[in-house]
Structure formats: structure tokens, C-alpha cells
Symmetry: C2
Subunit: 293 residues, 2 copies
């Protein structure tokens, strides 16, 4: 990581962002941190030696690369392009890297508005949730210009294990949404299979053992079968409402591309029912509570 | 396998059965083989030293345990209970083991009719398809009496790696159908995600790489992403029409149990569309050709 000693602004220190920023510090990068709730930035400063900024603009003024890790496109627009946003503080030639998960069209729209201000942009969402954010073993899928990707690569490598340049701007988001949608459907059918197995009086541990050895195996089987069987969805590794948001963005993007995602539409109804039942802040495995919806 | 030196009748030498019977011979069991197309039984005799029987009844008369490996319940009923069927030749105390995949209610129905003739019955379907049948590394999930399971265990261990007694009669089938239905849905959503990714112009190899590293990973991703991307479904490892049959049995069983499988219903429509388009004998990955149905 010799080439990039540029200070990094990090905007958004939630479950994921706080751990990612800590890993940047561990790798020796200077981090200027901003968070809506300032106490979290102060924690990062106390524990890892980050500098606390008052506003995104203030953070951007003290850094060459700005990373944002917030919930959805309105939040990204706010911290990058709103009043006091990072674009106000950034110098010409700055690079903004959004690692949130948002719609591909939102990413390309933000990229255009930043380009008009001579700010480069990458969309670089991640998969892996909290444990991998903590270990620095996230998967990072980046859309944008290849030279910009190379500029950001040392930062990505401090936070992730598999770091991929996947195509032009927006394609990081497109791939992220497809991955999450496949995971959402795989989880929903797993939940329905467990529900049907329970109703038929089948030994659920045997069912899981057979699926793990066979064609029914999946990453979500390994992660979510136990919480689904135990009906225990706390603490959330990834919130149900965030999964629902991703599935809805993916459905919209697929509709735009003229490729229907019928199975994801069916799954969306289950996640929506679970959210309406008050489970939006639980882990997304709580879709099992709507398995019969 | 010292305890069971009883000769074994093997009925049905298709893609799976021929390889399973060969592994019984390799493990030292005497095998009396019958197949509707006699030439396949003669091949097994020539290559592995099996004895060829003229009818299922003839095979059963020369064996203590009878294994059936055919397509669906009508075939199982025919070879076990039809004219010239195995029950006609079996002695009191014989054990019949059906390793086909059929409806759980069909399995328990056959078990009852055999019990009236003092023949014990196990349902012991398998997962793993052709390569694992060949290697003797199938997963075998067995429903039935524990003592009957122990009697059959040495045979199972010659054909499978993970050999499980999962519950009473019918539960082997119930678990098998749930596994296959989860695999069918996971494959269908994968096909739709690849279709949507292609329509959006994303790099499909990158999409697969991200899913393999992340929450979108699955056994069917590893097995079926390449054929789906290449649109190459020959030779079949598991025929689409057989998958469609399994999904339909599972849907019926889940309805009986009062547990709807909405995602599997959506997938069933895609498999049915692919079958109607003439792809029933192709590998079930050909569901991708109906991804936009």
C-alpha cells in the first residue's frame, strides 16, 4: 500500500462502516471520520486514532479519497451532494467511493453530478456483513474507471479479501443487488421448506444435514437454518428491512432491463409481510415468520 | 459388512441404478439384476458378475433383500406389486428397499400393501446424481423401522457416503423432496439472476465469482452457473422432467401438511414451461430457457 498515503475521509460509522474504518486505521491509513451521531466518530478516534470531522465537507477538505457507507441513495446524496456535503469540501481530482448498497441508476446519477464538479466516483458495495467487516474479509465489487479502481485498491485491500473491478459505474451495485436477491430467495425457500418439514413432522436436523450434503446446500443454509429452526433472529447480522430494500432495487433494475425476476417478486411479498409484522429490524432470517404468507 | 451376506435383487438399471448395483458387486454382494430392457442387466452381468433374472418375481425369489430404483410410484408398484412383481417371488421376512423418488404417501401405501404380505419396507431415496452414484458417495436418507435400516445399512454403505436413518416410513421421501425442491428453486432464481444480469450487460463471470464468495453461494451455483451461462444442458446429470416430478410431489405433500410452498409454486411454472418447450430430457439447468416465462 505504499502508493496511496492519501488521507481518507470515512462517512457513516454504522455496524459495517465503523469496522471498515477501523481496518483502514489498522492498515496505517490516516482516517478523517464523520458520522451523523458524532459519538461514534469519537469512539473511532479514541480507539483507533481517527480524526473527527464536523461535517462531510470538513472531512472531504482534509482528504483526497472520500468513502461513504450509509443506508440508501437519499443518504448518499445527502452526505455527498447536500448542504455541508463532501462535494463542498473536496478539491479538484478528489475520488469519492460509495460502498453503500443503492440502485445502479442512483449510482450513475450521483456519478454524473460529481463529474460536473471534477470529482471521480466509484460504486463499491460489499458483501459479508458484520463478521467479515470486522475481519477485513469482505467481498468488494467495484464499478467505475479502471484507473480510479487502482487508486482505491489499497484501501479496498485493507477492508476486503476478494476485491474485484467488475465493470463501469453502476455495475458494482448491479452485481451486489443480484447476489443479495439470490440470497433472499434462497433464504425464503429454505424457510418454507423448514416450515413444510415441521408441518409434516419431519426431523429438521436430518433435513438440514441432507441439504448440506446435497443439491439443496447454500451459503444461507449454513448461516440461517439454525436461527430459522430456533425462531431466533437477534442480534441481526443483516436487517430484514435492508434485504427488502435490496430486493426492491433489484426488481426495479431488472424491470428496467426487461428481465423479470418472478421468484424474487414472490420472495419480496414474504419479506414485506415479515416487515409489516414488525420484524424489519430483526435479521432477515425472520422471513421465516412469514413463510406461510 | 460381515453380517449381511444375503443376496440382493436389484430392480431398475438406469443412469443411477446401474452404477449403484455395480458398487454392490464391488463391495462383494451377490446381485440378482432385473431391468425392463434386459440388455442392461446383461451388461452388468458381463462387466461385474451379476446374475440376470427374467422377472422381478424371479429376482426376489433368489434374494433376501430387494432394491428398486425406477422413476416414479407407478413403476415401483409395477415392479414390486404387479403381475410377475417382486412380492410374488419373495419369501416371508424379505426386506424391500425402494430407492426411487416418489411421493411420501405412495411410499407408505406400498409399505402397507407389502406388510400385509409379511414383507418389510424401507423408503431410501438418494441425492447426488450420476457422478456420486458412480463413486459410491451418494447421500441416502432412509425412512422406516430402525432394525430394518440396520439390516440394509451394509448395502447402503456400499453405495453412499452419508447414510442416514431419518424417521419412520415416508420420511426418507419427504426429506428428499424438500431437498430437491430447494435445489429447484435455487436453480431457477440463479437462472433468472443470470438472465437479468445479461440483460443489464453485467460481466457474468464476475457475478458468479461474487456469489460464490458470498451469501448468493449454493451447491447449484457451483454445478449449474456454467451450463446456464453457456446455454448447454447436455448430457443431463438429472433430467428436467424428473425435477419437475419431484417439485410437484413436494407441492402436493406440503399442501397435505397445510404448509404452502409459494416459491416452489412459482418455480414449478418455470420448469413446466421449459418441459413444454421440449426440454424435459435435458438437464434441469435448462429451466434457464424459461427464465423469462
Amino acid at each position: 500500500m505504499a502508493e496511496t498515503t492519501e488521507p481518507v475521509a470515512f462517512l457513516g460509522l454504522g455496524i459495517m462502516g465503523s469496522r471498515m474504518a477501523a481496518n483502514l486505521r489498522r492498515a496505517g491509513f490516516e482516517v478523517v471520520a464523520w458520522n451523523r451521531t458524532r459519538a461514534r466518530a469519537e469512539e473511532l478516534a479514541a480507539e483507533h486514532g481517527a480524526i473527527v470531522a464536523d461535517t462531510p465537507a470538513d472531512a472531504a477538505a482534509r482528504a483526497a479519497v472520500v468513502i461513504s457507507m450509509v443506508v440508501d441513495a437519499p443518504d448518499v446524496e445527502q452526505v455527498l451532494l447536500g448542504p455541508g456535503g463532501a462535494a463542498e469540501g473536496a478539491a479538484d481530482g478528489a475520488l469519492f467511493v460509495d460502498m453503500s448498497t443503492i440502485a445502479p441508476t442512483a449510482a450513475t446519477g450521483i456519478a454524473e453530478r460529481l463529474a460536473a464538479r471534477r470529482i471521480a466516483f466509484l460504486d463499491a458495495p460489499v458483501t459479508g456483513s458484520k463478521p467479515k467487516a470486522e475481519d477485513g474479509t469482505l467481498t468488494i465489487m467495484c464499478g467505475g474507471d479502471a484507473a480510479d479502481f487502482e487508486r482505491a485498491r489499497p484501501l479496498f485491500e485493507a477492508m476486503g479479501r476478494l476485491v474485484l473491478h467488475v465493470g463501469p459505474q453502476g455495475h458494482g451495485q448491479a452485481i451486489k443487488l443480484l447476489n443479495n436477491t439470490v440470497a433472499a430467495v434462497n433464504t425464503a425457500v429454505l424457510a418454507q421448506a423448514i416450515h413444510a418439514g415441521r408441518a409434516a413432522g419431519v426431523d429438521l436436523d436430518r433435513l438440514v444435514e441432507v441439504m448440506q450434503a446435497g443439491s439443496g446446500g447454500s451459503a444461507v443454509l449454513d448461516l440461517k437454518a439454525a436461527p430459522i429452526i430456533a425462531r431466533d433472529y437477534e442480534p441481526p447480522l443483516f436487517k430484514l428491512d435492508h434485504m427488502l430494500k435490496d430486493v426492491r432495487h433489484c426488481l426495479a433494475a431488472a424491470r428496467d432491463a426487461g428481465a423479470p425476476l418472478g421468484l424474487a417478486e414472490a420472495a419480496e411479498r414474504l419479506y414485506a409481510a415479515a416487515s409489516e409484522a414488525g420484524l424489519g429490524d430483526a435479521d432477515f432470517a425472520a422471513v421465516a415468520e412469514a413463510a406461510s404468507a
